[in-house]
Subunit: 318 residues, 2 copies
């Protein structure tokens, strides 16, 4: 899945950034429409922004909903010049360019989303689908994924969520789901905790091993299955009763979410450190509220301990 060096496997599609932008904008609209219906009260506020050095984006943010405490979905289309070292940092791999100091003109389009519900039995959901290319056609790749972060393990929910994405993957390549499920389990690890932030999903990056059109279709299929994968789980749990202890546990898991995003998430750190992207749009992913208690340990055998076990030892759900 991951190649090293220039994207030699297939030819770049000259119009791919534009195609991705159009497709992702449509997905942004259809997903926010569906989420508003499930929420019943909250409305997304749209906010356009322009990046002074090239490009911009459209953020849609819902706060104070019935179901969601905070939900954000941001489209970014960025073009500019990037130092070689940023390209290397972004890709975690070397480049074939000759001059060390040369700046690399690039273009990137992505749609990124996090939704944090109030009810501790409703999972947080995140997705991100993106396309990156350098102007000379030397480098291009797709990345993306959808993953789920409950506070408790509901096996049926996980079978549903992972099942939807396994079906999506299988339609494009039977090797995708096992590979991308493992990549999500690897990516969402918080090393200093020895646990993942949630219960995974699919994740892929640096994908350029076949025709761009095929990878575009896969991204489109995946982003258009966010609502079928996530919506039914929220409908099922949005009115569940919960205790104060369960709410506190959710807040601690939100703390872990913040830790992952600020310490380990490649995209967040890349965006914050390079100044590529807009801080408020990058940090839109953080929950409205989070909590930290010193050395909190769930009681052995409790549902909280069961969740931690699943976050420490990834399970196969489908």
């Amino acid at each position: 899945m991951t190649t090293n060096g220039p994207s030699a496997g297939a030819k770049r599609d000259e119009n791919m950034t534009g195609k991705m932008q159009t497709m992702l904008r449509e997905a942004q609209i259809s997903i926010t429409d569906a989420i508003e219906k499930i929420d019943g009260k909250g409305k997304f506020q749209e906010d356009e922004w322009v990046r002074p050095t090239g490009g911009g984006g459209v953020s849609r943010v819902l706060s104070g909903g019935n179901v969601w405490e905070k939900a954000g979905i941001g489209l970014s289309v960025i073009h500019g010049e990037m130092p070689q070292e940023n390209l290397r940092a972004a890709k975690d791999r070397g480049t074939a360019r000759s001059s060390k100091d040369e700046k690399v003109p690039f273009c990137a389009a992505g749609l990124s989303c996090v939704m944090h519900p109030r009810n501790p039995h409703c999972p947080t959901m995140h997705f991100n689908y993106r396309y990156f290319e350098t102007d000379d056609g030397e480098h291009w790749w797709f990345g993306g994924g959808t993953d789920i972060t409950p506070s408790y393990v509901d096996e049926e929910d996980m079978q549903h969520f992972h099942g939807v994405y396994k079906d999506v993957c299988d339609r494009h390549d039977p090797e995708f789901y096992p590979m991308m499920k493992k990549a999500a389990d690897d990516y969402f690890l918080i090393p200093h905790r020895g646990e993942r932030r949630g219960l995974g999903g699919i994740f892929y990056d640096d994908l350029n091993d076949r025709e761009p059109e095929k990878l575009f279709k896969f991204a489109k299929d995946a982003v258009n299955h966010v609502v079928p994968a996530y919506g039914p789980i929220i409908e099922k749990h949005k009115n569940d009763d919960f205790t104060e202890e369960q709410k506190q546990w959710q807040q601690l898991r939100r703390g872990r979410y913040v830790e992952f995003n600020l310490v380990n998430d490649r995209g967040t750190i890349f965006g914050l450190k390079t100044g590529i992207g807009r801080t408020e749009s990058i940090l839109m992913t953080l929950p409205e509220t989070a909590s930290w208690l010193y050395d909190h340990q769930p009681a052995p055998g409790s549902p909280e301990a069961n969740f931690l076990d699943a976050a420490r030892n990834p399970r196969d759900w489908v």
Copy 2:
């Protein structure tokens, strides 16, 4: 203040790690005693831990106090071997060692503390005093500082806090306060926000430009002035009335505190990434609760806007 390369300016004191450990442990006890008296309800729980690869520590944590929602003060004495690259990362400078792969035996003693009060008119306070040396006497240095993070500007409080530390500094070297005040303003910057996490204090690192005994006495004087600098501010404000909006503003500032600690704080990132230190002790510094709202902007002319201005443009308080 900062030297480059081996600590050639003065001879190492063979007993310094032990002396620091004893002095910092006494400070840990006297500070927690004083804080318990001010709080009136909360008690520090002591927790000893052993680092499997060498050393350990004593954490004292208070939660659920009258005044403080969470306060932690951790003593660590760590010895072990460190890859060259960690030594470089720790010091942000190269080393003179010949072999690249050689591991460097080291010893470090430090006392680190964060206290987060409930009342939004009571500031959070942080300090850290530490000593580091490699076993061959080639490298040693002191670091430390005390800084304050209110949610609102109270000029009198800031004059008091900075005034106490200016007096401490002036007794040791009249150049210390201006240098260390500026170093704190530089260090506590959150670059992706263009603002500091709080209103500064003093900060120093890599200090080895004079006899170890002199630097030890300075560290001792500084840590022993935490209570005189911070206590009166808490006594003054601990029963202040506050609104829900002021509490929410405090929660947003706590979010910035988390951002700084997880994205920018050298010590936190070093500890989490290298596995040197214990995660729960490193992250003891995080607040019990924090909040993020999308693109929140205080009203022009409001006390919140005045705070932001002071966090963006450091002021001289004394």
